[in-house]
């Protein structure tokens, strides 16, 4: 440990200069000799069969090297799903193995040519005939009687405690409403890109923009029946992922096409491909019903959600999770359903479940507060449970009440008007809203890391982890420096390469703690190695010399009892070693077995709603978070802010539009799918409590996703406060605000 810890300092990003100067090389730019370029041809019907593919024109177009369809694709096995912890796929759909069409936008051919433009053009010349079949496309027709999924992220789809419907009927106050959120698309700025070079029939390197290096390696091995050792996956920089840069068909197709073409091949998805080939966040329809006593305590909490998946694909998005953990109630009626549609498999998108689920729950609470004429923060504070309300487990650490207090004061919550439609500034109605956030703590099993010391006293930490812009390389160097007792500039962090020890996918806000747990294990193994090397001449030799008897600090090992220590450099030098490396596996994530572990937060906002046009502009934001120890305030604040920006998008503008007649995504571009622009975003104030979680490695709980939770609800509640109108259907557009 460093006496003056580096963890907690606002260290600048290590990748900053490379990214700002353009030196950072992204997947679509990696130089590879002899490279050919691919483009996809995608179906224009949602269901049915391919009846014929005419490649005559495409094959004779300039520069074409190869064309692959289901007729000449190699055997490709089904990719393992992300949820199995072996793979990174959301879909079980066969990749170009048959004539069947499962969604509108499914790749049906891949064209390889000398240049990207030639590939693109040739792809436009592929003529595909279809025998369309009636697809499952109209959610409102199919939602009635929708089945329960087998599980929701490993948990029961339903949680029933007491008779919530009966309690609702007799409640003194009652809210019973349906909330809807549309399909969303991730819209990372970097397009999905893959480059594959085969070295021989059985080995290859894939450069991929991915948040799952190790699991991509495993997937390629499985789908092509190869030895994972013969596959290298490299992902140095990823320009945003948000849960979508996992394993889809395009990487597999690129690899297959490269084998067919006998050339390295690069495939960069077009923006419309990203919308149609990969899946986004499911739409949801959610009923939340709350029964309450006059004092605001809940007699019933009902949250029933219906989401969509692809056909035999995707997963039940966990939108009822906030209702399982946030508030105490006498009875619970929680239930999830899924509707299978001929759409791309739905995928995880920042704060899957919690973000859209909290929209429904947190709006309903606001409606209840209004009915009870109680401050919405006070209603929430009055529902604070002593233990997890549906499992009974003790909380590992939960400081929501403190977050409410701090946030209310910092935001000036007391100065808001509790009467809707009562504040105005010229044509703008002003309103304030609040919502609670929560996100589960997870640590996926399976992470490993190595630590290598060199004779000059520097350390290199290696793991196949991911830097998608959130600051991984920076915060892990900070943590490792402290743990090894080295200055920050003596620690290197290498990642994004399957040659490094295996890592978990960057998802579930879990990567940071997972890597830390791996580094802890590697450092422990390294300590043992060092002691072994040091004996018998070292000053350490006398000191009981078990790994537990020494500590890593001041650039070396030192007996805990205060005896003389020795520097790493000295130990290596004396042993005549240039390097010493040790690898460790993260301990199994047992901390969640006994404890309910979650991040929390509270979102406050001010909106201005135009009286004439119904336009909503967010004018002020504060998020206060309880996410355990913060390693780097600078990168953590960016994560919170970025998530809030994304939440504002979901509140006001974002919607992936499907034509329900054809199942086709219509607004498959950034011109027509509206993520927020700068003008939509006010200065965002973020604060955190920083109480380390006693059960989490290093006390940290993950900061990537909780910041998005509650955002849409806070906006909707503020719009109500401004105008008196409840919008229960995202996004909150002018026509809805004006009731036109």
């Amino acid at each position: 440990m460093n006496a003056d810890p580096i963890v907690g300092r606002a260290v600048p990003r290590r990748d900053g200069p490379a990214k700002v100067s353009g030196a950072a090389s992204f997947t679509a730019e990696v130089p590879v000799e002899g490279l050919a370029h691919a483009a996809l041809v995608c179906s224009t019907v949602a269901a049915g069969e391919i009846t014929g593919i005419d490649l005559t024109e495409a094959r004779s177009a300039p520069g074409v090297v190869a064309v692959m369809t289901h007729h000449n694709a190699p055997a490709i096995r089904i990719a393992p799903l992300l949820i199995t912890l072996r793979g990174a796929s959301f879909t079980r759909a066969p990749v170009m193995q048959d004539a069947r069409i499962r969604w509108n936008g499914q790749p049906v051919a891949i064209v390889v040519a000398e240049t990207p433009e030639q590939a693109d053009h040739a792809a436009s010349l592929v003529r595909v005939g279809y025998a369309p079949a009636e697809g499952r496309l109209v959610f409102d027709d199919l939602k009635v009687g929708a089945p329960q999924p087998d599980h929701v992220q490993g948990e029961a789809p339903a949680v029933l405690r007491g008779d919530a419907e009966a309690a609702l009927r007799t409640a003194a106050a009652r809210v019973d409403q349906v909330y809807r959120t549309p399909w969303h698309t991730h819209c990372a700025i970097e397009l999905h890109a893959t480059t594959v070079a085969w070295h021989d029939e059985r080995s290859l390197t894939m450069w991929d923009a991915t948040q799952a290096v190790t699991h991509s390696q495993a997937t390629l091995a499985e789908v092509f029946d190869l030895d994972p050792e013969d596959i290298r996956v490299v992902s140095q920089f990823v320009g945003g992922a948000f849960g979508n840069k996992m394993m889809w068909s395009h990487q597999i197709l690129c690899a297959a096409a490269a084998r067919l073409a006998r050339r390295p091949v690069r495939l960069v998805l077009s923006r419309s491909d990203v919308f149609r080939v990969t899946g986004g966040r499911t739409r949801t329809e959610q009923r939340v019903a709350l029964g309450a006593r006059a004092n605001g305590t809940l007699t019933a909490l009902v949250h029933e959600a219906t989401t969509t998946t692809g056909i035999n694909d995707g997963f039940a998005e966990q939108c009822t999770f906030p209702a399982r953990v946030l508030y105490g109630a006498d009875s619970f009626g929680i239930d999830q359903r899924v509707v299978e549609l001929h759409t791309p498999a739905n995928s995880s998108m920042r704060a899957p479940g919690e973000s859209v689920g909290s929209f429904a729950l947190e709006c309903a609470l606001d409606e209840l507060a209004e009915q009870l004429d109680v401050d919405p923060l006070d209603v929430r504070a009055g529902l604070e449970p002593a233990a997890h309300p549906t499992t009974g487990k003790p909380f590992s650490g939960r400081h929501l009440l403190e977050a409410y207090r701090l946030g209310a004061e910092r935001f000036g919550w007391a100065r808001r008007s509790s009467t809707p439609r009562s504040r105005r500034d010229g044509p703008w109605w002003i309103g304030h809203g609040v919502a609670t956030a929560t996100y589960p703590y997870t640590r996926m099993p399976g992470g490993r890391a190595s630590v290598t010391l060199s004779a000059d006293g520097c350390a290199t930490v290696r793991t196949a982890a991911h830097e998608m812009g959130m600051g991984t390389a920076t915060v892990q160097a900070q943590y490792a420096a402290d743990h090894l007792g080295l200055p920050l500039d003596r620690v290197r962090f290498e990642y994004g390469d399957s040659r490094h020890p295996a890592a978990v996918p960057a998802g579930g806000s879990a990567q940071t703690v997972s890597i830390i747990a791996s580094v802890v294990a590697a450092a422990r193994a390294l300590t043992a190695e060092l002691l072994h090397l040091a004996a018998p001449d070292s000053p350490l030799a006398g000191a009981g010399a078990g790994a537990d008897d020494v500590e890593m600090r001041d650039g070396g090992l030192h007996p805990r009892d205060g005896g003389p220590g020795e520097s790493y450099a000295a130990i290596l030098r004396r042993a005549g070693r240039a390097e010493l490396a040790a690898e460790g596996a993260a301990s199994p994530p047992t901390e969640t077995a006994q404890h309910a572990m979650h991040s929390y937060g509270v979102q406050f906002c001010e909106v201005r709603v135009h009286d004439v046009t119904g336009e909503v502009r967010v004018s002020r934001w504060l998020g206060v978070f309880d996410t355990g120890r913060i390693i780097n305030p600078r990168t953590a604040a960016s994560q919170f802010r970025g998530a809030i920006v994304m939440g504002i998008g979901s509140a006001l503008t974002e919607e992936t539009i499907f034509d329900e007649r054809t199942g086709r995504v219509l607004n498959a571009s950034l011109a027509e799918y509206h993520v927020p622009v700068h003008a939509d975003i006010p200065p965002i104030d973020v604060a955190w409590l920083g109480h380390p979680d006693p059960m989490a490695p290093m006390g940290g709980k993950g900061v990537g996703e909780v910041g998005m939770v509650g955002v849409a609800a806070a906006v909707a509640n503020a719009v109500h406060n401004a105008t008196g109108r409840r919008i229960r259907d995202l996004p909150i557009t002018p026509d809805k605000v004006l009731g036109l």
Binding site: V612, T613, E615, R617, L652, T662, E672
Partner: protein, 324 residues
Amino acid sequence: MKPFTYQRADDVASAVAAAAATPGAAYLGGGTNLVDLMRQNVERPAALVDVSRLPARIGIGTDGRLWMGAAATNTDVAADPVVRRDFPIIAEAIVNGASGQIRNTATVGGNLLQRTRCLYFYDTGARCNKREPGSGCDAVDGHNRMHAVLGASPECVATNPSDLGVALAALDARVHLAGPAGGRTVELLDLHRLPGDTPHVETVLAPGELITAVSVPPPPAAARSAYRKVRERASYAFALVSVAALLEVRDGVVASARLALGGVAAKPWRAAVAEAVLTGAPATRATFDRAAAAALADARPLAHNGFKIPLAQRVIVSTLEELS
């Protein structure tokens, strides 16, 4: 994108000659719309004649009109001191459109001729009479939230997306053309055609005809003007509806009024009936309400765009109130 040839024209005559000599040629302004459409295989020109280096002068001519070369960038027009002082709604309309980067590249000519943003027009997987005459229109019974409420036909319900065009429509602008058959001038209001049963024919331009300039007469000295645009995203979004208005009030009575609407029709829509209601009437809320009702009297909603009618009326009334 289909392969194409490219040549840059140095003057109007050579541009027109080059286009006339090359079958399937298209003029290229800033390319911010055309190149997008080529990448989507919606437009497939065989040749591009780059006209972005043609005259781009902005200034008052000897005839007292404001002249803008067709190749002037949207940014240069919006930043021009004369435009800002004497024709402020032109600048307002421009800066309310697209993004800084796009406006830096987009030209006056290209802005006026940019194609509709109908989502089905952009998607070669959909049916669209404008893109492929006779194939049908997926928007009429499909997703049509952004579509037209005025002047549409069963064959096409697309809107013209230009903001600049709406301001120019209110200002009685003229468009100056050069073509293989020589030069001519058309009123901006006559430049675009309503879809009827030929939605693929969007303007009165003859094949190979080039926009060389746009000219605008000085507005009535006492008129006040405003451009108002409604959109859910604060910037970088097309109008749900927009309103360009000039209003001259003397002694409480409307002396002259000009009103144009955007986002409602296949062309910048001049609300002449509303102007007739306004002119000579007391400058009161009641008059403005009647004018707004008249402006949209012929409007026909589709399944998802009915909100545009009351929204446009609200914006008309509030803009007129603000100017009175």
